[in-house]
Symmetry: C2
Amino acid sequence: MSEVGITVKKAENFSDWYTQVVLKAGLADYAPIKGCIVFMEHSYAIWEKIQAFFDKRIKEIGHKNAYFPMFIPERFLRKEAEHFKGFVPECAWVTIGGDTELKEKLAVRPTSETIIYTMYKKWIKSWRDLPILLNQWCNIVRWETKATKPFLRTREFLWQEGHTAHATKEDADKEVMDILMIYKDLIETQLAIPVLAGRKTESEKFAGALYTTTLEAVMPDGKALQMGTSHNLGQNFSKAFRIKFIGEDEKEHYVWTTSWGISTRLIGALVMVHGDDKGLVLPPKIAPYQVVIIPIFYKEVEKDTILSKAREALTKLKENRISTVLDDRAEYTPGWKFHEWELRGVPIRIEIGPRDIEKRQIVAARRDTLERVEIKEEELLKTINEMLEDIQNNLFNQAKRFLEDHITSVKTYEEFKEVLRKKGGFIKACWCSTRECEEKIKEETGATIRVVPFQKEDLFSNCVYCGSEAKEVVLFARAY
Amino acid sequence: MSEVGITVKKAENFSDWYTQVVLKAGLADYAPIKGCIVFMEHSYAIWEKIQAFFDKRIKEIGHKNAYFPMFIPERFLRKEAEHFKGFVPECAWVTIGGDTELKEKLAVRPTSETIIYTMYKKWIKSWRDLPILLNQWCNIVRWETKATKPFLRTREFLWQEGHTAHATKEDADKEVMDILMIYKDLIETQLAIPVLAGRKTESEKFAGALYTTTLEAVMPDGKALQMGTSHNLGQNFSKAFRIKFIGEDEKEHYVWTTSWGISTRLIGALVMVHGDDKGLVLPPKIAPYQVVIIPIFYKEVEKDTILSKAREALTKLKENRISTVLDDRAEYTPGWKFHEWELRGVPIRIEIGPRDIEKRQIVAARRDTLERVEIKEEELLKTINEMLEDIQNNLFNQAKRFLEDHITSVKTYEEFKEVLRKKGGFIKACWCSTRECEEKIKEETGATIRVVPFQKEDLFSNCVYCGSEAKEVVLFARAY
């Protein structure tokens, strides 16, 4: 589907580079409906890997999946005032069903708290019914008006949303943190993207939350990307929806709820962080195929020997749980295939040609470093396994160095603006904790407080904006 | 969530019995939006089992998953005339996005042929691009006006829809049949529901198809249920959407397309076919939990021994891939638990009490026959495995006998009506193959031709309606 490679350099035009990689690597295509994309097989397979990892982990600690209706009556959304303000401006509304105008218009879910809590109110009666630990994998609609950016800003996307109800604040606190740590694990160990963890400020938290925890990564253009959030909704929603239970103390209490989500935007992060001028670069643990085998023969007489050797390698790798594909399509040249698989980011390419048969070896090319090495036949499995591990680590470490290089401490607003202008990334600064300073900085520079780190750091200056006494050290950035 | 058992008998009030089982077994709940239900964790876990089986099988033969937008502009639906007529009357329409009235209203997908083919037109250029073998798992909306019946008739449901494009009719024919056979395998070997396979008539086929193949089952009330369909869409859609390719012959051809789907209605079938007066009965292969262990102790001193024995059994069963849960909730009595797990249909209940510890045994109760047997500790694994297999077979054979008992051959229209009135099920009759007779029978009796069996049978009478020469043997039934 991609006849030419990436025609712009990542370092020169990041935005065009991103779009080209997404389209030419066959991750997504623009749909003929404004704001919508098709998640093509290549990106969907990555999403399935994300799903498998996360789904297993949350089930291990007692969560179950369920599925709630996509249609949410307007009056449900109105019940929690902040939530309504936050989401209603970007809802898509169904107003006609069959040939009938609906009496009440229905929002296509922008998030499902309100429909889910309507059910929780019905289901929860006693402490025996708690906790409720449900998750759903579904599509979400937010009627964005800004330009579409595949995976990062589209009107429909895919996500999971967890919604839990607990008897105490402590239980809800623990849930929020348990999930955030699973997200961190997923993003760092599978996607090879290092993140900063912490809380959101009052003005940046989820509409209706008591507090929001977040994971933030830095992209190569110096902008931050929110990777996943986990919210303690306190009793805000349980009060709005009257979700009460009889405790072991035989008294009535409001439940404590949490919600948390990650979405297909993670695929966008993956493209941005690891991709290069030749296209996508996938960390082995999240790659749909970890290895591609490409047979190379020039004469018809070589064909059988080479193909049978290729199939042998395929079997051996697959038996050892290395996800491998043999590209034996006759209608394309090896050169065309090299190019295509590079574009698609497969971590290791194995080449088997006449010279390799002779020498009882194969050639393996790493996608991350583009290095090519010869491997003795009998060391195939060992070497490929080591190489996959090495690629995974290399990609993470590279991204980690970039992140560390892009956290800059500043003491003055002048420095703040200069770093933002020249380098971007996260700016570590002391803040007086007032909404006014936060607002002013946002207005004047476009930077917001992305995260208040969990680990409190010692204050090293007064408030970077107003100069009065600072209360905490926070991280600012411009963000997607 | 269910404090009382099923209060009506399956044989006496099938419809109420169904609703009670669905609600009380915790499969689904009515949502506060007309026509919509919540797929609760218990039914969703069954759906996940269906997904896992089918997903693996279609991937083994080269299919991939993808995800296409949910919103379909009206003009796409209009492109194939029959398709438009078939689906537009039951679309939900989004007319407002954010605070703006849309210029063109968008249907929430009732099925995705039209949006997917718009993309295929863009992607397919040469024979090298074929076949395209994509599938998507998603939600679907059809604005039903008849009474809601969980899993069987709701405005939103879940399904998979496969959409493939091929170079020749033969390839498309093969695809249609390959998929139908995977459906048959899923439904018969996993859900333990025997089906009849064949084609639909011209008037019953999918709107826009060349031909439709179907699997039909019989429910205990004598009505037929369509379990899955696989369509050869011929070149109808490729002509409407102008999907052409350059063949190896260097000429332009229209592609041949297929589509196929199964939905969460399969869960409804599962409830109806196997359930009994005590609630749900699940075939082991599709049961989220195959075994529940319930410890029974009366004195605190017995507790530790019994719980440790229960945990031992849990570990042993789980290590051997038997999906097992230990219900050690202190807040419920064993009797309450027996009742709840019976309602929820778990195939085997293991009881461990003081007497069992003494005798170095456990007690296992089968959900299908309600039989209780004592099992020597050392034979636990072997016996449970055999029992699970036996339950699976027993449920299938029972359903198979019922199906066979409910295929009645008739030669006259009088007999036809009598069988329909007294017994229901499938009525095998000879038909002249005219739409007129098919229509008349439908109007007069409510029965439709459910399936034209693949295996042609010898004619045994004239047309059951008009008495003129018959052309084929078909199966009629009233259907869900």
